[in-house]
Symmetry: C2
Subunit: 121 residues, 2 copies
DNA sequence: GCTTGACGACTACAGGCGTAATCGATACAT
DNA sequence: ATGTATCGATTACGCCTGTAGTCGTCAAGC
């Protein structure tokens, strides 16, 4: 459990979080933009299945793949790792960093503001 | 430029961001908690110097190491990567995630609130 | 001067990752 | 029935990473 997922693997997961179950072909088709060959995608699918991040069900001679882990759980874990590692666990400096580089649109700021208001109660 | 720094390497950088220049010995001493051998630390220092993240000045027969990259720049870059990858570039969902898991203390929330207020002008 | 200890350089090596080709089996079309 | 396309499994391979040992050299103490 709690197996780490690499970046390329994560992109594969994204496809399946969006729509599943899918065959290897389908997944590869949706990853056309990456330029990866079909075999590359199959390798990633196998590795993900091996580490328990994907569930497979047989469909004749092939597999249908579906996520076995929650996207939110992965995202939360990664976020926490980063915030711990870079900012001693405090999220404000992270936001400050993003802000400093002009990475925050006013929509982002409004969104954060609303979120904060909500958190305060 | 823009060479990526691995996690172990990052820990070495942390030491030098806190206090520099230092000899390999000194760095290793401050990383005692990791249990790494002296040679391991030296390897990491070499790799960091090779990728331009550290500057070295000769001090007799040995080197003094000092950061050649800004901690803030690294942190900002990593933050952006994560937010892009996991949250489509929008930081609010990240904060929401941290909040959802009870990762935010009321001090954190206050800090964020102050930051937002500042950003709004 | 000779030994010894410390230094950086070089070498090592297993595991993960990105990327992919090949292989053996099977389903399907003819 | 036979050829062909397709599947997953297996193998490949170079790079990065974590972790560390060895080597040649030089400085310092005796």
């Amino acid at each position: 459990m709690a197996e780490r997922i690499s970046e390329a693997e994560f992109q594969v997961m994204e496809v399946l979080w969006r729509d599943s179950p899918l065959t290897a072909q389908d997944v590869a088709a949706r990853l056309e933009a990456t330029g990866w060959s079909l075999t590359t995608v199959k390798t990633l699918l196998s590795r993900l299945a091996a580490k328990g991040a994907l569930a497979t069900t047989e469909d004749g001679r092939r597999y249908l793949y579906a996520p076995a882990v929650d996207r939110a759980a992965i995202a939360a874990g990664e976020s926490r790792r980063l915030v711990d590692r870079l900012f001693g666990g405090r999220p404000a400096p992270l936001v400050a960093h993003l802000a400093e580089r002009g990475e925050l649109s006013s929509a982002d700021i409004a969104e954060l503001e609303a979120l904060i208001r909500e958190l305060k109660q």
